[in-house]
């Protein structure tokens, strides 16, 4: 009986004030279970957004909001006059775009390859192995990458030497122009298997009769991939691509922080590291916040540009 009355209350006019109050009382446990966490989210996720006002002040810790000195766009002007800023911006854009392209090309290729493996036990084994790097921290991953690329006994140099591709070991970690590639490759090594999960699921959702029909028509395996598998996961690819562009805000700096060193600084510093080094470490909070805001703006622009492009050329979008 109680359930039936509940149904009635929700379906009938919610605009009715006393009704609404009644429902509220009825659902007090639901409110108790969610409102504390909404407040939580407000404090830890939304209040930092309020902190963006710092970029327009000469923020001094310990002073109240209204006691701060407002300086308008001064910190942004300072930012745009800094030569270092353009270098950092270049690095951020370069590594974001490289990571974005590699981060969806390789998982798609890997998923397609894995799908072609007919021996189930092998497929499972390879898949389990491929997740492994995703679960280790970037600290561990960076240590491993450094070890593999080292000049004394690093596996990469050893393989290149034995194939006679190089005469002497390359000092990978101390050459600036190699840094972007190293970061991207490390990311591919760490995340390809994990990111392939969704594509594999999408592929397994494609009807087997499509492949059957293609086989009858005499399509080779490559042609089947091109005409059935790829179109079958096309929308998944696009949605994930746009989503990952949306997440560029948090592209992070862990990799750059852990893999970088002072010899490759001109190629390794990204906006967040710049904010950390020039904002936080020196106590220039307002300047650092201006960098953070700029970082978010870049991501937002990239998101809209990408979405617009997909709308135009692929007729699909998430917005």
């Amino acid at each position: 009986m109680k359930a039936i009355t509940l149904e009635k209350q929700t379906s009938s006019g919610l605009n009715n004030k006393p009704q609404r109050w009644k429902v509220f009382k009825n659902q007090k446990y639901l409110y108790l279970m969610s409102i504390p966490f909404v407040i939580w989210v407000f404090v830890f996720q939304y209040l930092p957004l309020w902190g963006w006002t710092m970029a327009f002040q000469n923020y001094k810790p310990g002073k109240g909001f209204f006691e701060q000195k407002w300086v308008g766009l001064e910190h942004f002007q300072m930012l745009f006059r800094d030569d270092q800023f353009y270098l950092v911006l270049r690095n951020t854009m370069a590594m974001s775009i490289m990571g974005l392209v590699a981060g969806f090309v390789f998982p798609v290729l890997f998923a397609i390859l894995l799908n072609e493996v007919r021996v189930q036990a092998m497929k499972r084994f390879v898949q389990t192995v491929s997740y492994l790097p995703h679960f280790v921290s970037w600290v561990v991953a960076a240590g491993i990458v450094t070890k593999m690329l080292s000049t004394d006994g690093g596996a990469v140099n050893a393989v290149l030497m034995s194939l006679n591709l190089i005469d002497e070991p390359i000092q990978f970690m101390s050459q600036g122009h190699l840094f972007w590639g190293i970061v991207t490759a490390a990311d591919v090594w760490k995340e390809t298997g994990w990111n392939a999960i969704i594509y594999l699921a999408a592929i397994s959702g494609i009807g087997p009769e499509l492949y059957e029909a293609a086989r009858v028509d005499g399509a080779s395996r490559l042609k089947q991939i091109w005409h059935i598998t790829l179109p079958g996961i096309r929308s998944t690819i696009i949605v994930l691509l746009i989503m990952s562009i949306g997440h560029l805000v948090g592209i992070g700096f862990e990799k750059q922080f852990l893999l970088g060193n002072h010899m490759v600084k001109d190629y390794s510093e990204v906006l967040d590291l710049y904010a950390l080094n020039y904002g936080l470490s020196m106590g220039r909070y307002s300047f650092g916040t201006a960098i953070n805001i700029f970082n978010s703006l870049i991501s937002l622009i990239l998101l809209f540009v990408a979405n617009g492009m997909f709308k135009k050329f692929a007729n699909e979008s998430i917005m």
Partner: protein, 311 residues
Amino acid sequence: MNTADSVSTYRTKRSRAASRSAQDWIFDIVVYLLIGIITIITLYPFLNVLAISFNDSVDTVRGGVTIYPRKFTLENYKQIFSYSTLLTGFKISVYRTLAGTVAGLVSGSMVAYTLARTDFQGRKFVSTFLAITMYVSGGLIPGFILIKNLELINTFAVYILPGLVSAFNIFVIRSFIDGLPFALQESAKIDGANDFAIYWRIILPLCKPALATVALFLAVGQWNSWFDTYLFNGSNDALTTLQYELMKVLQSTTTNANNMRGGNMTELMAQVSPDSVKMAITIVATVPILVVYPFLQKYFVKGMTLGAVKS
């Protein structure tokens, strides 16, 4: 099965085998070759690290250790467990992983349950409020100032509180609850159970697969994080985590290795901790996760696809 059937299957099998062109063979060989190379590239570094961690550290300097130790020893592990900071780090990492996972599971499942209730009045507001956080963030400095103002610096709580509520995890659990039959909740309600009792006694036990997925995400995130330690507790030896200690060891040697060029080799060599010890710490920081994840694999594969489709 009658004879006619088996003859026809035999024929199709034969004709298929015959139609397996040279092209198909080449295709298969290429696929297996590529998959093999990818597997080796993924796995080799781990085996190499493992082998070095069990290898005599003086012997390791000679180089050439691949996937099995040349001079087996447990000395490296004995040595790292005699550092008190590493031991404390290990303990703090275990504590934060346990506390963070439990707290995250409770908060995530509670909110997810309310969002799965289609009759919940505040549903739309709460879910929009959460979804926004997946795309917008204040950034490093405002976040740091907030933690500072809340006086969370140099506390253990800074590991647990800021990340307690995660929109992504909530949506993963929610989409799982959505898949459960609503009739279960209705009949419980008729029996007089309140909403909290339904959550606790009916939904939670049924949610185990989703909770296992989210627990893995949370635990891995907690165990692996080092940047919050660096930012907030880096100078407090009693609160540093294992990953942070590992970071310090690895970072210090890279810079030392850089300085080594042209510098006084022998003097610097004394400071540089040998490779074997570094690799032993790496293994200690990695093994707990590697032990758990294969068992939870079937859950998180499902959870990942569900979460992605919904969000």
